[in-house]
Symmetry: C2
Subunit: 394 residues, 2 copies
């Protein structure tokens, strides 16, 4: 661990550790339920300390951690596969395509990374209870980590979440509070709950360490890519926290002078859940009106981290792209049948987007491109059945 | 890669590479469909060569591979998490309990390891088509690897296989041939198919490199356990190939003088799919009459590798134990809620067995015990729903 301050992403005020927990005390007051969060905090490390201690020969990734290793739960996350996908590259006319398959985290999604760090923080703080709202993946991730580490987990989740996500949450022994309505409603209810009943709230971006947890996927891509920065990373975007985490990884690496460039971050959204895309296009923020998409994990009306996500794309010279539900389902089958990677729809949206990018020649064919595949296809079998037929025995 | 010979496990005849492909030409003739295989071949390396080249400081695991690295598909397998499970250990009165979670292979099960090596072998041989019979996991593993590496995959699978397994096989683009009846029937049909239509048959134990592929999980446990041998490893047993693979790992390590002892191998079977258990108890082999169990991945009437599995248990001073379907479902919930590991029923059978072992004091409480968790719970959500209730929104 390296010493750090929390910095408000809006007013730039700095706060010492343990003097704030969630949002900036000033800017956070502007937050209205059903809108993006205001006053999200970011971790600013002492980068000179990291620069001094970090070596590529024997990299100590704990230097990039905002929680001491001794609090880490017995639930290993990350270390997921990063591999070249030559057959898919050929199909889409690229030459150097890679996949980071984060569906290989224990609960089946990248969200394990955030839950892991939050559980470590809860242990440090002596909290016994962790509370979250989720479209499903963050919920099962939190439930799993809580089971391994011995926390009570209270989880607000839309009752429309895919059955596999609900079943795993209950199997992990979490207390599940199903919500009529969307993720946004679950988000609001979970904040209310922690305010009244206590516990540590793990809502994404609301707790700044969720971004730090998700950041580790970016650090891993860099390390697995032989300490070089890919040209572009395609990221499925719902509430905007994963893309902010990937941004933060390369920001930290740049700040510690371990690299000198950023990858273009490509924001992939579903046509119906397009608030961040529109924000990037128009500069004016508006909620998505009816965010229902087959890619349930990125189905969000008011993305909690819209402001940081916008910055992540703009400051890396990236862009955003929309894909339809049918394109997402086609992307899922393409990713499975050309790369052997079975991804949930939200994660497969990256492959769908790459097909569009190829057609529109938005990225040069010789660039090194990474698809960040955030969740396993086994998370939602009903969605995966929409595009295929299973033969019957004769 | 180290040079090797194939050795018949029955008559001990030795064969040079490429002079045989599947079973021993003599003993294999005794094989009758619907019974365990006869004349299964084993890979015997030049262990002096491994002993000379292998170092713990910079371990070259390719020395233990029967196929050259240059043929490996772009589909990374293994490197799955190995972690301590203290809460589960406390609950079951053990002190040093570990989990190897091989459900974190890309297609969600340990079977990826065998499919990976068979695909490498197919590439070396110039075969374009790989054929297999499977209860579901080997099938999705083969389908996935074939998609990444560009092989045609032809898969015989009982149509009663869990829907998630069928869906993923089709998503991966394999040709699926659903079979009325059991795994044993699919096994027979797939052998018929390769005999008539060609292609490389990947049936477990029938192709000796399936055992070599699965072996890598044992090598990894050894490496991740700081190059020490655990006291006991619990392995779910259906056709007996995984336990034979784990045995082979430690046999290779002993033969190359990298360690000097074997872990006890504990054979865990479902009450209804108990052929190897009975074989161990009575010394007389008999098919399981009605192998139907909730643990579909270990539901087998005539285990293809019964003879080697028996040897694996006996030569390591291990034992076998049966668990009922209800015990398996309880084991699944226990593993999820005390260790954060959501396992498919067959894999959770190890936790169920450990609960029994604890009660009957069959292993000392201070021994280092490893549960080999072979498949992810997301593989079969219907089974996981049998033991829980999902709350509804009020």
């Amino acid at each position: 661990m390296t010493s750090f301050l929390y910095v408000c992403t809006e007013c730039k005020q700095k706060f010492a550790r343990d003097t704030v927990r969630y949002l900036c005390p000033d800017c956070g007051k502007k937050y209205i339920p059903g809108a993006p969060l205001r006053g999200v905090l970011e971790v600013e490390f002492d980068y000179s300390e990291i620069a001094k201690c970090f070596t590529k020969a024997n990299p100590d990734w704990e230097l990039f951690s905002a929680v001491e290793k001794k609090y880490y739960p017995e639930y290993p996350v990350g270390g997921t596969h990063f591999s070249k996908a030559s057959r898919l590259a050929d199909k889409l006319n690229f030459k150097n395509l890679w996949i980071k398959f984060d569906g290989l985290n224990p609960s089946g999604s990248l969200k394990d990374r955030a839950s892991f760090l939050i559980a470590a923080e809860a242990k440090r703080l002596g909290e016994k209870k962790i509370v979250a709202a989720s479209t499903g993946n963050a919920a099962s991730a939190l439930a799993a980590v809580a089971a391994a580490a011995g926390f009570e987990a209270i989880i607000f989740v839309p009752e429309s979440a895919p059955i596999a996500k609900l079943v795993s949450i209950v199997q992990y022994g979490a207390k599940i509070i199903p919500v009529h309505g969307t993720y946004d409603e679950a988000f609001r209810l979970s904040l209310e709950y922690t305010e009244k009943q206590g516990g540590l709230n793990r809502n994404t971006a609301y707790h700044p360490l969720t971004i730090e947890g998700k950041k580790t996927v970016g650090l891993e891509i860099f390390a697995q890519n032989n300490f070089t920065v890919p040209d572009a990373i395609l990221v499925p975007v719902g509430d905007g926290v994963i893309i902010s985490g990937v941004y933060k990884a390369f920001y930290d690496l740049m700040s510690a002078k371990i690299t000198n460039r950023m990858p273009k971050l490509i924001c992939v959204q579903a046509e119906k859940s397009n608030a961040i895309h529109n924000f990037l296009q128009t500069g004016k923020y508006q909620n998505a009106q009816d965010p229902a998409t087959v890619a349930d994990s990125i189905s969000v009306s008011a993305p909690s981290n819209a402001y940081m996500a916008k910055r992540a794309v703009e400051e890396t010279d990236g862009f955003s792209i929309l894909v339809s539900d049918q394109e997402i389902l086609n992307g899922q089958t393409m990713l499975a049948s050309y790369a052997g990677i079975f991804a949930e729809p939200a994660a497969a949206a990256t492959a769908a987007a790459l097909a569009k990018i190829s057609k529109q020649q938005l990225l040069a064919s010789d660039q090194q491109i990474v698809l960040l595949v955030t969740g396993h296809g086994l998370k939602d079998i009903n969605a995966a059945m929409k595009n295929i037929t299973i033969p019957k025995a004769k």
